[in-house]
Symmetry: C2
Subunit: 177 residues, 2 copies
DNA sequence: CCGCTGGCTTAGTAAAGGCATAGTCAGGAC
DNA sequence: GTCCTGACTATGCCTTTACTAAGCCAGCGG
C-alpha cells in the first residue's frame, strides 16, 4: 500500500478554504521554524539554561543566540528568570515554560526519525525508573496504536458556508486512498 | 516542578563531545529544515501529488516548490513517478517513500502543539474505523506512558576517548533536576 | 576603582530562502 | 500545424538567517 497515507474524510474543497493562515502546522513553524530555534529547544531540554552555554553548545554565534532566545521568550516557550548562586551575583537563566515543555514530543519524533533515516547516533531517551527506551507513537483516544496509513483528517467544525459541504456523505469518495 | 524536564544520565562533558555534527535532531533539520519543506510534506500526507497543487496549496511560488520538491526527492522522502490517467498523457506525481511516511509523527506532534498553543483549528486526525481522535505520545518499550519530565538521555555507546569520562559515576549529580 | 566574568549589543558581510514575472518544453486535442 | 495544459526553468531582486569581530555594561573580588 505505497499510496495509502492519509485519507481525507471530507472533500478536497474543504481543504482549500483551509489556507496556511489557519493551519496549526504552519503556525507552529512560524514560531519555531528556524533551525537554531529547534536546536536551542533541544539544549533547553538537555538542561542548558545559561546564555553562553546555549550559544556554544548549539554552535551558533552570540548575536543569533540572543535574537532567537529573545523570540522564544516573547513567544512564551522560554522564560528568563534571575537566579543567584550563593556568593555569586544575580544572573539570568532561561527555563522552559509549560508551552515549551509540551514541545518535547516534536523533538522526540524528530530525533527518532533522524536517528533512523539521517544520522544514526548512540543516543536515546530512556524511561526513568524502568530504563526502557522511549519512542513516540500515535494512539487514538481508545488506546489503539495507530499506523500512519490508518488516519482520517477531519474538519471537526465547518465554518461559515462550509457547512453546506457534504459532511459524512458520499463525497468522501474524493478521499485519497 | 517547573524545572524538571530531562535529566541527563551522564555528565555534561559527555555532551560536549557531542556536537551538532552528530546530533540526529540537527541532521533531521538539515534535511527538512525549511518552512516550505514541512508544508510540502504536510500536503503530501494530505494526499497532494501534483506539482501545481503543491505550489498552490502550500502557497509558495513555483520556483520554490520546484527547488524544495527536488531536494525532498534527492533526500529520499518523495519519489517522482510517472502515471497516466486513461485518455490522458503521462504525467508525473510525487509520492511519499517509506522514509517520507515515517516522518508523519513529527508533523502530527507539530500539529498537536500548534493546535494547542499557537493556532487552534477545527481539524484533527481520527483513527480510521474506530473514529477516535489521534494524538502522539511517548511510550517506553514496556508500554508505559512516559511524561516529558520522566526521561533520561543516555549515550548508549561511548566512542573513542569518551570512555575515559566518568560514566555511571557520581558525576551524575550534574544532571538537571 | 580596576579588572574579570557573564550577558549581551553593534557593525558589517555573506548565504540561503523567498517572491514575482516570464519563458520553455512535451504531448495530446482539434 | 496550432493551441492548450501541466510541469517546470530562468532571471532578478528582497528578506531572513547566519557569520566574525568588536564593544558595552553591571557587579563583585581585590
Amino acid at each position: 500500500m505505497e499510496s495509502a497515507i492519509v485519507r481525507l474524510a471530507g472533500p478536497l474543497q474543504s481543504r482549500e478554504n483551509w489556507d496556511n493562515a489557519r493551519c496549526p502546522i504552519a503556525g507552529a513553524i512560524d514560531v519555531v521554524g528556524a533551525r537554531s530555534a529547534f536546536l536551542l529547544l533541544r539544549e533547553a531540554f538537555y538542561g542548558t539554561s545559561r546564555f553562553d552555554d546555549f550559544a556554544e553548545r548549539v554552535g551558533i554565534s552570540q548575536p543569533v543566540a540572543a535574537a532567537r532566545l529573545r523570540e522564544l521568550v516573547e513567544d512564551g516557550l522560554l522564560a528568563r528568570e534571575p537566579y543567584r548562586e550563593p556568593g555569586q551575583r544575580t544572573r539570568l537563566e532561561y527555563r522552559l515554560t509549560e508551552k515549551g515543555r509540551e514541545f518535547f514530543p516534536v523533538l522526540a519524533a524528530l530525533m527518532q526519525w533522524g536517528n533512523r533515516w539521517v544520522r544514526p547516533a548512540p543516543l536515546e531517551f530512556r524511561h526513568r525508573g524502568c530504563g526502557e527506551p522511549v519512542h513516540t507513537e500515535l494512539r487514538c483516544a481508545q488506546g489503539h496504536h495507530v499506523a500512519a496509513g490508518d488516519l482520517d483528517l477531519v474538519v471537526t467544525e465547518s465554518q461559515g458556508a462550509a457547512s453546506t459541504d457534504s459532511q459524512q456523505a458520499g463525497e468522501t469518495g474524493k478521499a485519497i486512498s
